[in-house]
């Protein structure tokens, strides 16, 4: 079986650190590794420079991503799971995403290349996959008050 071969050759992703306050509903270990790998590239220039703060922010983005998907209709959650199966299964990760190592060991250039290929793909399905990652990762970060100071957003005014 092709699937068995693919898995046999895979370098397994290491499980990223998780937000201890978050119980994951949709993302499994592999899904968390994928978001934790892509988010720093999607959010390059937007996350804190300081390494511990940067890594802590990524942990929160992964948790926020899961929270956002869990609030979507079950049919849409299934579509997100399909996207993550495609990205997570080593053979399709290599063929469709062009990422030949595990996500946690992929270089920034590899991941940025993947995002650009999908962003401008002639295949509308891949473009929609890019847009899904774009929307969920950016929403997860910019919903977080930690992101606001950098963009000059004062947060909501006090009314009560």
């Amino acid at each position: 079986m092709v699937a068995g071969v693919g898995y046999g050759l895979a370098t397994h992703d290491s499980v990223p650190p998780a937000d201890p306050a978050h119980t994951f509903v949709v993302l499994d270990d592999e899904g968390r590794a994928i978001v934790a790998a892509i988010a720093p590239i999607m959010l390059a220039g937007a996350l804190p420079d300081d390494a511990p703060a940067h890594d802590a922010a990524v942990v929160q983005v992964v948790a926020g991503f899961d929270t956002a998907v869990a609030a979507l209709p079950l049919a849409v959650q299934d579509e997100v799971r399909q996207l993550f199966s495609l990205l997570g299964f080593p053979l399709t990760r290599a063929l469709a995403a062009g990422v030949t190592t595990s996500w946690s060991s992929a270089s920034a250039d590899q991941i940025a290349g993947f995002l650009r290929r999908w962003q401008f793909s002639s295949n509308a399905l891949l473009r929609s996959g890019y847009q899904a990652l774009h929307q969920l990762i950016l929403a997860s970060w910019y919903a977080n008050p930690l992101s606001w100071r950098r963009i000059g957003y004062p947060g909501p005014p006090a009314v009560k």
Binding site: G45, A71, Y142, R150
Partner: protein
């Protein structure tokens, strides 16, 4: 200072409400009229019908939330108050749709912009859909009554800078603008209408018609998804609903069933056609769920040499109908110009690209100005809109192919918006498109816009106005309901919401829904209250 919360007060005083997330058994209710949906249509109908002495049950898929819950946070508002966390997509994912899902529907989260149905739209309906009674003069009293009820008036404060840029730029080019009318009373001018009004100044259904109905002993069921009408012959005999979990995502093992003399679908232009499709209502001409319109929107960002702070102040106060009024309604697609509020999540997910470039654009948020162009779809054979379909699990999805006719308008919209923004002093303009960059001169921007590929999922297209799918009309071959909202084939079913519009409007829809629902619900109330079995208490 503590803001009074009329919903909290009503609940404490004993309003009849039921939350699907909290019931622990099946529930059956009986009434004169059950209304599915509590947005502009359902809320208005509930007030009119309860006012006629009829026993009303309202069923809402979303949760009951009120000002004490509205903290002006996108992280809370989008998952709690919007369909699909404000990320509802068309079938091919090319268009993101903002639509409310909470008690009050989209009126709880809209930006308060209020227009009567434009005269050119009504004339088109009269000519093409047999809506003889839908003249400007005949509808005027209904619009006036709802304007009074919801405190709709010309916004009296100066526009925020985001809106002011649209006005200044347009006027320099000789493009007329006007001040928007808003349904607010004592507005604090905060700018967070889209996250639920924290001060109850917005006169949404949540704080007006729904409390009025509840004061008259109506029942409100929230957190319950209307699955189907039960049919027997030419009558509806019941409504079946499923209780939902607290997130409003998964079904709980409890049913809410409602029997009534009359049934009303007010679930919006995606929800109502979907409910009728799931119910298997007669559809001999295949019109149900068809001709669904979106006012597809394109977006233009500008960098200004001064603060804009588009997250602050009334989100929409200036508009231009120049590109609707200077060309025939059935010619090349026309568009309305408005601006959106600029909060971090909405801005970040709308802007294209990623990494450093996106981060730089976000860093400019306080000096960013945005104009949107809303396409008036549905008035020619090249713009027949979309179709509501059901997924395997019965949930709806809208298939809306963007036709070349619509793409043409989206491109022209980008061009016009760039002209306006540079005329107002922008130092750069960014058409929101994956292939575009920030252009520092009008010539550069226009050259780029002329060649940007008008392609799904490259050009950003969004919508906040869903209309059609249960079109009203005199001829059942081209419509779903009669001009009074009654179903062509089922005698005790009506549709009162934006789904009855046979085209888009060319204007933000809430006041059209209020006025037309008030008209049609009043006719229904008269008929039901006159029939045997009506509640004893007559309307005043």
């Amino acid at each position: 200072m503590m803001i009074p919360d009329p919903i909290a007060a009503g609940l404490a005083a004993g309003w009849k409400t039921l939350d699907g997330a909290r019931i622990d058994d099946d529930v059956h209710l009986d009434c004169d009229v059950v209304i599915v949906g509590t947005g502009a249509g359902g809320g208005t109908a509930a007030e009119v019908l309860s006012g006629a002495g009829l026993r009303v049950v309202m069923v809402e898929e979303g949760p009951l939330r009120s000002s004490r819950d509205f903290h002006m946070l996108e992280s809370q508002a989008y998952p709690q108050l919007y369909q699909e966390s404000a990320g509802r997509k068309t079938k091919d994912k090319a268009i993101n749709i903002l639509q409310g899902r909470c008690v009050g529907g989209s009126t709880t989260v809209n930006w308060t912009t209020s227009f009567r149905t434009p005269p050119a739209t009504l004339a088109y309906w009269q000519k093409h859909f047999g809506l003889a009674d839908y003249s400007v003069d005949a509808l005027a009293p209904w619009f006036a009554a709802m304007e009074k009820r919801l405190h709709i008036h010309r916004w009296e404060k100066p526009p925020n800078e985001n809106n002011a840029v649209l006005r200044r730029g347009a006027e320099k080019l000789g493009i007329a603008t006007e001040v928007i009318h808003r349904n607010v009373d004592g507005c604090w001018n905060l700018g967070y209408c889209g996250m639920g009004c924290p001060t109850n100044a917005k006169q949404s259904m949540l704080v007006t018609t729904i409390p009025a109905a509840l004061e008259r002993d109506a029942t409100l069921v929230s957190g319950a998804r209307a699955e189907r009408f039960l049919l027997s012959g030419d009558k509806v005999t019941g409504l079946e609903c499923t209780a939902l979990d607290a997130l409003g995502v998964a079904a709980r093992p409890y049913k809410v069933t409602v029997t009534a003399r009359h049934y009303i679908a007010s679930a919006g232009a995606i929800g109502s056609p979907a409910l009728l499709l799931r119910s298997g209502v007669p559809d001999p001409n295949g019109t149900l769920g068809k001709r669904t319109f979106l006012h597809p929107v394109c977006v233009s960002g500008a960098t200004m040499p001064h603060a804009v702070d588009g997250f602050s102040g009334a989100p929409q106060s200036i508009y231009s109908d120049h590109f609707l009024e200077t060309q025939p309604i059935d010619g090349p697609i026309g568009f309305k110009l408005e601006v959106p509020p600029l909060h971090p999540v909405l801005a970040a997910t709308t802007l294209c690209g990623f990494g450093d470039r996106h981060a730089e654009e976000m860093k400019d948020l306080p000096v960013t100005q945005v104009v949107i162009a809303l396409m008036r779809d549905g008035f020619t054979e090249q713009s027949v809109g979309g179709a509501v379909e059901l997924r395997n699990d019965g949930t709806p999805v809208l298939d809306y192919p963007i036709t070349p006719y619509v793409w043409d308008g989206l491109r022209r919209g980008l061009d016009v918006m760039a002209q306006i923004q540079f005329a107002a002093g922008a130092t750069a303009v960014l058409p929101v498109h994956e292939d575009a960059a920030a252009y520092s001169s009008l010539a550069q921007a226009q050259a780029a816009i002329a060649t940007l590929p008008m392609e799904s999922l490259r050009m950003r297209v969004v919508s906040a106005h869903v209309m059609g799918g249960c079109a009203m009309g005199a001829d059942e071959k081209t419509s779903v309901v009669r001009p009074d909202g009654r179903h062509h084939h089922l005698e005790n079913l009506s549709v009162f919401d934006g789904s009855v519009f046979p085209t888009s409007l060319g204007a933000n829809p809430q006041l059209s829904i209020y006025g037309i629902t008030a008209r049609n619900a009043s006719r229904l109330a008269k008929e039901l209250a006159a029939r045997p079995g009506a509640a004893a208490s007559a309307p005043p």
